[in-house]
């Protein structure tokens, strides 16, 4: 029974995740008045990449392929810690939220490592930006986690995410949304549409990847997006207090809303200049910090 449950859960994560970038692209196309690529485009891309061979840089070590593989495993493990509303998480224990944050960090380490393998200056820039801006987004993320922890008096994800975030929900939602945009390299922090620029983060890091490792990176990135969208939804909505069907509906609706939101932001905003990125991230951090103060006062009253 447990095995079946785990397989089902993995299937949901693995299969649903690539849908999100498709939805975002559809929204962008819709706002711009284009038809846009099909919603399932990423699935086609992944299938094609998975069948292809790889081109390796002459400088690359085995870490060039091991990096994306380990990062993908780390992201998959992180998703298994996140509760799926009424069915809970695959594994839940006290302090699992910190493991989740550090699994994301492990994925970051591996992607940045793999990017540096080729000795390409663009990839160097990309990974330098990735690991540096992550300092701010990690601070914001841990503040958000602290907020939820203070609000619920727990450090287990299942308990922390069950009720709504209370009075500070709007602040927390805005803060987490900023973190989501930064961590998933969306506009205004990064532009996922192009990678021929000096100015990119994530796309610059994967310039030299091809074939199955690139598929692992793209799929991992979509899982990360779904992870953050779910985290945001569950933090803001009282998913744990709804009936099963309502909770599933709320989750699906929330993720959809977040995805459409990302698409809208991407359509309406331009990418920021890099010197403004830290300021925006600091704003996200401050939003989370205010949410924390609100949660603190709320609990004291």
């Amino acid at each position: 029974m447990i095995v079946v449950q785990i397989i089902l859960r993995l299937a949901v994560w693995l299969v649903v995740a690539p849908l999100l970038p498709g939805i975002i692209n559809k929204v962008k196309a819709w706002v711009a008045g284009r038809r846009g690529p099909p919603v399932l485009q990423l699935y086609y891309d992944l299938a094609r990449l998975w069948r292809k061979g790889v081109v390796l840089s002459t400088l690359a070590s085995p870490g060039f392929i091991a990096g994306p593989a380990v990062a993908w495993i780390a992201l998959l493990a992180a998703t298994q810690l996140l509760p799926l509303g009424p069915v809970g998480a695959a594994l839940s224990f006290r302090g699992d939220v910190l493991l989740l944050i550090y699994l994301l960090a492990l994925a970051r380490f591996c992607t940045a490592w793999a990017a540096m393998e080729t000795g390409c200056a663009f990839e160097g820039m990309g990974s330098a930006r990735e690991v540096s801006y992550a300092v701010l987004s990690e601070a914001a993320l841990i503040t958000a986690v602290l907020t939820l922890s203070v609000h619920t008096g727990s450090i287990t994800l299942v308990t922390m995410l069950a009720p709504a975030a209370g009075a500070g929900a709007v602040l927390l939602g805005a803060g987490l949304f900023t973190v989501l945009l930064a961590e998933n390299c969306r506009v205004p922090f990064d532009d996922p549409n192009t990678h021929l620029e000096l100015t990119m983060i994530h796309e610059a890091m994967i310039l030299d990847h091809s074939g199955p490792p690139l598929a692992a990176i793209l799929h991992g990135a979509s899982m990360k997006l779904l992870l953050f969208a779910l985290l945001l939804t569950e933090a803001v909505l009282p998913v744990g207090e709804l009936s099963t069907f309502a909770a599933v509906g709320a989750l699906a609706g929330g993720v959809l809303a977040v995805t459409v939101g990302v698409g809208l932001v991407e359509s309406l905003l331009a990418r920021f200049a890099f010197r403004r990125v830290p300021m925006l991230l600091t704003t996200g951090f401050l939003l989370c910090l205010f949410a924390l103060l609100v949660a603190w006062k709320g609990g004291a009253a």
């Binding site: 069948r51 493990a77 550090y102 390409c120 300092v135 030299d208």
Partner: protein, 650 residues
Amino acid sequence: MTPGLLLLSAACSVAVSIVVGPKFPRTWLALILVGAVAACSAALTVLVGTADLNWHSTFPVGGELLHLRLDALSAFFLMLVGVIGGTGAIYSTEYWSDGHYPKSAPRGRAWWSGLVLSLGMVLLASNGLHFLIAWEVFTVCAYFLVTLENRRSEVRAAGWLYLAASHIGMVFLFAFFGLLASKTGSWELGPMREQTGLAPLFWLMLLGFGVKAGIFPLHVWLPSAHANAPSHVSAIMSGVAIKMGVYGIIRFSGWLPMPAAAGPVVIGLGATGALLGIAFAIAQNDIKRLLAYCSVENIGVIFIGLGGALIAASHGDALWGRLVLAGALLHVWNHGLFKALLFFGAGSILHATGTREMTRMGGLWRTMPWTAGLFALGAVAISGLPPLNGFVSEWLVYLGLFDAVNARGASAWAALPAVLALAVTGALALASFVKVSSIVFLGAPRTKAAAQAHDCGSAMRGSMLALAGVCVAIGLAPVLFWPLVARVIGVWNPAWATTGDLPAPLATLGPVQAVLAALALAAAVGLWRYSRRNGSKRALTWDCGYALPTARMQYSGGSFGDIAAGWFFWILQPERKLRRPRGVFPVESSYVERIPETVLERVIGPARDAVMRVSTAVRQLQQGRLQSYILYLVVGLAALAVLVVLGGMR
């Protein structure tokens, strides 16, 4: 064998190795290893068992009766001395061999034995006077090890700075132990928590041990000493010697009553130290200096845990106090292990390329695969990433601090900023270690020396493998190590002593980490095989279509760390010299950046200059003319006469 006998045999074999070491390297290594194994088994016996070793002798040393004590806390640190002392000795036989250094290698072996022996004595001494003697011997042995390569002037300067700083710390320790002895009437050390009058002595102790531990801003000696010492010495300095400062603070904060402000001050020092330590680390371009600053950061992390424990103890919060203290203690081990591993790796690189400048390395994985792999493992561990040991200890600290926040007492206000500092520090550490490992090992070799590097031999590789093995073991099976840590906690604060209750999440975390490691390994191998089967070909790095990429076009370490280092501009104060290309046919242009030792050069340096100026001015008085000396005498007598007259009038 009983722990007493084991310790005796350890001490004897290490003591003999001091004498035979210079002449017979193999015998020396065997003796050191016997000593290390015996010391570790003695420590393990105490840690696993319930009884402490307490040995009162009747013969006096320096006027005081010798009293040795090995309780769980000192045993915990003795394990570290044994492990790093042993592996470092193996490493040094190849790294600092007689063939390469015919003059300094024999000396180095004797001083190494002396250092290991005196470190053991510091841990065993239970008498203030003997503690001070052992502490001084340890400081001096470390000085001679740091300055093994004394022909180079920067080595001598680093050693001198270390010696001076250590002795300033020593002055505080003299004051601490002297006052302690005068207040209690005896040099004997032991639990005296009920004598509340002793609490203010904590500050003396914090300063004295803080210098040795290298907590920011008392770390001034640490970067240059660690960077300029031979790498096996850097490893034991960073892995063990600075931990003795931590030992001192844990030891005496457990035995003495604590002032109320102790906890907040220690946690504050820890949080700032961790943050600024890693900020300095990411800006460095010298690989060993980067590792040294990272030690400052890790000592900060340990202090965060320790400060949390002090706060919890003063409020009587056993639950979260035990977690943070366990995290701090485990981090002492973890940092000792992975930092020694990283310094061994750095030594191997230095051996192969002859430079510590990261900008002169690159692409070393091809010629040094073992070093690259083991260094990478150390880098993952020190960044606190799962599934290795660094994550376990940081996670315990986090758990405790989160509980403190959720308890919503006064301690929450100390725990909240500490959590944030820990998170930012962790992310910066990750950035630093991506930087160092990728600039050194990945990409194309930047110099000819880097292209012709060679991997280390079996002795160096073996000692690195051993340390890496322990790192993995603690990461995958933290459950095995919990009883040892729990016993130390019971010694530090008897009220927190419990028998074998494992925190439930730790029991879950171990298997999770093991599964994660297995999956990661399987995925890496699987993806590698699958991609190869699909067909793989090698081609030039794409580099935006540029056909002839050269090694000089790669991203450099300076540029990699620039974004994060820029945020700490205010304290790093980098000195930049830029010569732009000028004119129609520019001849040369250059850009040089140096990160100064801000505390040393901007605070201590000016203070020293002021003292020197005053002294020089006063020296004007002494110019060797008899007439002026007679004049001084007359003036002095006159002044005395005036004083006497004024005194008589009152």
